[in-house]
Every structure is written in C-alpha cells, then in structure tokens.
Amino acid sequence: MTMLDRYLYAVQSSLSKDQAAGDIVAEIGDDLQSQMEEREVALGRALTDDERAALIKAYGHPRVVAARYSSVQHLIGPELLPFYWSTLRLVATIVVAIELIGGAVSSLVSHNGALFFGALAAAWNSLIWIFGIVTVVFALSERVPQRDGHHFGTPSRWDPRRLPAPGACPPAPRSSTLAEFIANFIALLVLLDAAGPHHIPLDILLANALADMHATLTPAWHAAYIGTVAGTALVAISAIAVFVQPHLTALRETARALAGAVVIVGIAFTLQAGPWVQPADGALNAGALYALVAALVILGIQVTMSVRALLRNAINQAAGTPQEIPRA
C-alpha cells in the first residue's frame, strides 16, 4: 500500500456514511496523482518519498479535507450564536441564583454553614451541565433541516411593529443590577438570620446590644419585618431578571416601587402597633420611632422616583423619543 493509498483511506474513514466517499476519494486521488506526475515531468525524474510526503501534506490533514465536504462545518453557526449565548446566560443565571439562594436559606434555617458550600459546589456542577446541554441542543438544531427557513431556537414570529421605541426601555448596566442583587441578597440573609439563628455578626451585635440594655423588641416589629423581607426578596429577584435581560428596566422600576410600597405598609402597621421596645418607656422607643419615620421618608422618596421613572418611560415610549437611563 503506497503513501497515497494510506492518505486516501484516512480521508475516506473521516467522510460520513451518507457521502459518496468512494467518489470523493477517487477524485482526490486523481488530483494528487496528476500533481505528482506534473512535478515529475518538471524535474525529469521520479519523486522521492519525502517529496511525495510534502505534496500530500500540503493537500491537508485527512480530517480537514473530509470536513470540507460536510454541509455543516461549524458547531453553532452565526444565525444561532446570539440565541445560544442568550439562552446560556439566562439558564445559567437562573439555575445558579436558585441554587445559591436555596443553599443560603437552608444553611441558615438548619444552622449548618456547610450546606451553603455544598450549594456552591452544586452550582459549579450545574454550570458545566448547563453548558453541555445547551450546546448539544443548539448543535443539534444547527443540523436539523430548517422549517420555513428558520432554525429551531430562533424566534421566527417576531414583528418589527412590536419592537421597543428607541431608548424607551434603555438597558440597565449589568454592574448595577449585579450590585443590586448582591446588596439585597445579603440584606435578605441578615434579615432571615435576625429572626432566628443569629450567625451573622451584625445580628449578634444588635442582639447583644439589646441584651446589655435589658431591652427586647416587641411583636410590633413583625409587620415591618415581613414587609422588609418581602420587599428585599422582590428586588433581588427582579435584579436577576434584569441582569439576564437588561432591557427589562421597566420591570426593575416596577419591582422597586412595589417593594417600597410593601415595606411602607409594613412600617405603617409597626408604627401603629407601638411601643417597639420593652420596657416601653425610655429613649430607645423614641429612637425606634425616629428610625421608623426616617425609613418611611426614604422609602417614600424611592417609590416616588421609581413611579416618576416609569411614567417618564411610558410617555417617551408613546412619543418614541430617546430617554436617558432612569437611575442606576
């Protein structure tokens, strides 16, 4: 068996079953043979083994040569790539966020910090699985015959008339939404910890300070506590959604306004249900009152700004005029 025969056999082995492998290989063999003969005529002598090897090598690696006859020569093509990346980001962010939040909450509830580190490891494993599964699905979609000229996974029913007006929903910077999620996630952990286990130093400090003063918080705080937990969770979840899809700024402002309103209602009930610290008389109660009123004022400003941004957004969208990003 000559070197050329071995090369052609290697090319044939790399061609898929549905291709006319014999035909393709015969043509490649004829082309290489013609090249060798032409070179021999030019040199006036037979080619050496090294010269034949160089000529065959210049033709290309057998797998590369065979791959050129394939109808699809990429794993995920340019038409599917944008949807591949957005799907990968969306699925990875949602799954990892759920695993981390679940791990953090269960570690607080069960007083076992190891559960959170277990969730971290699980999240890493999930990332690898998500990458693999999403890639396989899109690679298969690339190879499935197209329906109506569209690959599976690409939105075929989009309507140019329903696209957002320029700047009506300006994208939120990812750094801002990430910071918002982290801040609210930490706040949620502190709040959950404050209700029971007291693992977090801030909660321990607060609990010790109250114990030193022989004071305790009254059940009047329940309403403010529940409102704050609900509001914080709402903002954290909306931050995940906006991180994945930065154009959902209206959703972020709605979540902020709603969360602010929920906390305001909770604080209002708490204010009504005073005293807030036992024993009831003394400076601590006055301090609690001022703190609650200050929180109401700050939240009122936040809700007003969010509602204002939403209204401006709606007006600009109706008018189709560009708008600056509402707030970071």
């Binding site: 043509e27 004829d30 082309d31 040569v65 050129r68």
Partner: protein
C-alpha cells in the same frame, strides 16, 4: 462564477484548477472539489467519470441552469463594477 465560466467547455478537476490558476485565480483543491460537488447538487453542472490516459477522471460541464446563473451573475458583476467605477470617479 469563475468556475462556472470555465465549465462552459468540459474539463476535469485538475485541468479546471490549472486553467483558473493560469487566469490568475488560485483556488486550492480543498475549496474547489467541495464547491463542484455543491454546484452539482444544485443542478448547475453535471459530472461524469471517464477514462483518459489510462486513468479514470471526473469530467464536469455546465448545465443550462448553470449557464443561466452564470449570465445573471455576470450581469450583476458588471453592474457592480460600473457603480464602483462611477463612485470612484466622483470621489
């Protein structure tokens, strides 16, 4: 288009590549043969194995649909060239 132009007369792969090379268009074999196969699948040319100089060779020739596409592409190229010439002249 260059391949279509050369296949108005029958040629086999190697001579086609040499003809293109001599005309100043050096297409490597890894591009040319898969391209010929795709053009044949699209019904623009036909191929036939025949023996020549004691070796079997695959000969290609343009089909009427290929001639039509070639004419269309030639017209389009002439239009683009004319437009570019005008744009460059005005610059």
């Amino acid at each position: 288009m260059a391949v279509l132009s050369q296949l108005r007369s029958e040629r086999y792969g190697y001579t086609l590549r040499k003809a293109l090379q001599e005309a100043g268009l050096d297409i490597d074999e890894g591009t040319l043969y898969p391209l010929l196969r795709r053009l044949e699948t699209q019904g623009l040319l036909r191929s036939e194995w025949r023996e020549e100089n004691k070796r079997r060779k695959r000969f290609y020739r343009l089909l009427p649909a290929g001639e039509q596409i070639f004419e269309q592409l030639s017209d389009e190229l002439r239009r683009i060239n004319a437009s570019l010439d005008r744009i460059i002249a005005e610059a």
